[in-house]
Assembly symmetry: C2
Homo-oligomer: 339 residues x 2
């Protein structure tokens, strides 16, 4: 649904790029037959040869007069694509528009093997098989819409956490945003993210879930380019015994968390590791802030914070943090842009 | 590379949606183990349950003051995603920007099983295995960059068609845009495209290659909504013996073709079927135009017309056709939008 309460954005360019990856040669596979289009001819397909492996995708929206030379890079979580920054499952505006309205250029990306990044054959190019997210896993485990045992295929028999802010009636639409994922491509994914940062130059990172560890690591790999790292419920983080948090002095970090984290085994097990990285950052003199929304009186947020019904309120908390760190000028309006 | 020769676009909203598809239940699959993020916990995954199957994705850019209430819907070809409308493989502006500059709202979509649409397990949800495009197939067969036998993994040993307008030195970047495809999902894909047309309402369709048959058929299914169909080298078309071309009176059609079509078996076999549909349209009183660029003195175009080095010239031919059919108002500039 369009938001007509704002002035139009003055946009200089919308475009996209693929970055990272290389042509890899496959061989020894048998020929196959294919009909490419209804009524089209049958033709033989040779699956052997060169194909692109390891690339990622990013779409950019560049404003006519951004308030910063450093765009906001939005990195999705596991089994998702950049689409989750473009809209909510109940059709409200996504955070992409929010950051644009705040005056920042925005890059929305799809990581290696997800969405428009494309994916490559397994086991020839990827070492293992993909995983497909079920609604039960999304509901009861990853996204914390309800407690264990609360999913049911019949909507009338499903239960949510009390006070849940995710629009649970749109779970089918949420599931349409999910894509398969592999568990064997972390190295290629990190390399592609690092290549994206090199390609973009100065940038801010906002990551979600699985994207969290990639973003925190990308900052370690390019502290001269990454101006801030905002991690929305990261599912992992660098190990302080292996990574030098001191490299990140001058790169402010924000960790932001929703509700019900103590009721889900995955989060009970993974959150302390991230907490240790936050503490290592602070001990190293890095400006790192840890926000648990319930401690601020904001209850009911799922792991899909950017889609919860108070997503605009959470975005405002992030924009306030960004502004407090001097990363954001005054919002650019159309009137400013055309001056 | 940004084009600074144009005024900024006045954009009302950028967003996206998924449409079509449904939750399907899978059962009987064995449990698996997964580590979701480096350093994260091992957890058991139950692949059984509900997942989304058959949906497609569309991103929209809505202008503050579009010249038409009907957006341009850009539908990609086989093994591609909407990204091929956003940029060329050598980094020039894509046609998405061209249509926006011309004053039309634009929807760039990913069909079922491609890109941000996501894909579902096979053989449980899809009846067959995917196909992966090799550089040789792209070069010698589908995209007509060179004649049969002209691809070589060593760039120095590759040959192109003489006068080729595709930037052949960027073939590796082109391959990064390619995604896997199935040959068993035409029905679901058509259903999702039809659902997109119903969701959008009045619209113009511009399709490429495999998207061609889907677009021509979508117009048959919704002649009250589809205002025009522009088919860029469609790889198939409805059969006049099975479809009533007369339904499309009042829906102008344009078929547009590049060069070297007589030198590639796939195109030699598929083009006459499309020609028959064009002729059936004309016989039924439909305004259908057939443009072969070489007949206009424009030589060297590949199947990737929207990426060839004269892509702006081809877009201008399409915009001229659109304007001649009264579908396009005067281009909206930022000054118009705020003035």
């Amino acid at each position: 649904m369009p938001d007509t309460s704002h002035p139009p954005l003055a946009v200089r360019e919308i475009g996209s790029l693929h970055v990272g990856g290389e042509l890899v040669t496959l061989s020894g596979l048998p020929l196959r037959e294919r009909v490419s289009t209804p009524g089209g001819p049958v033709h033989q397909v040779d699956p052997n040869g060169e194909m692109a492996v390891g690339q990622m995708y990013a779409q950019y929206v560049r404003l006519a007069a951004p308030c910063s030379d450093a765009p906001m890079l939005l990195w999705h979580g596991g089994g998702m694509t950049g689409a989750n920054w473009e809209t909510t499952s109940d059709g409200r505006e996504g955070w992409q528009m929010g950051f644009l309205r705040a005056g920042l250029d925005v890059f929305v990306s799809d990581a290696v093997e997800r969405g428009r990044a494309g994916w490559a054959p397994y086991p020839q190019a990827y070492a293992g098989e993909p995983f497909f997210r079920t609604a039960r896993e999304a509901w009861e485990e990853t996204f914390r819409f309800g407690p264990p045992g609360s999913w049911h295929v019949d909507p009338a028999l499903r239960r949510t956490h009390p006070g849940l802010r995710f629009p649970a009636g749109t779970i089918a639409d949420f599931m349409k945003q999910c894509v398969p994922r592999w568990a064997v491509n972390d190295e290629a994914t990190q390399a592609a993210y690092d290549a994206l940062v090199q390609r973009v130059g100065a940038c801010h990172l906002l990551t979600h879930s699985q994207g969290g560890n990639f973003g925190l690591t990308a900052a370690l790999h390019a502290p001269d380019r990454v101006r801030a790292v905002i991690s929305l419920e990261p599912s992992g983080a660098p190990d302080p015994a292996e990574a030098d948090a001191g490299l990140l002095r001058g790169v402010p970090h924000l960790f932001l968390w929703g509700d019900y984290l103590d009721r889900h085994e995955f989060w009970v097990r993974s959150l302390p590791k991230t907490r240790r990285w936050h503490e290592a950052l602070r001990e190293a003199g890095v400006d790192s802030e840890w926000i648990e929304l319930p401690a601020r009186g904001i209850h009911g947020n799922s792991h899909a914070l950017m889609m919860d019904d108070n997503s605009a309120e959470i975005l405002a908390i992030i924009l306030d943090w960004v502004a407090r760190h001097g990363l954001l000028g005054s919002p650019t309006t159309l009137a400013d842009a055309v001056g």
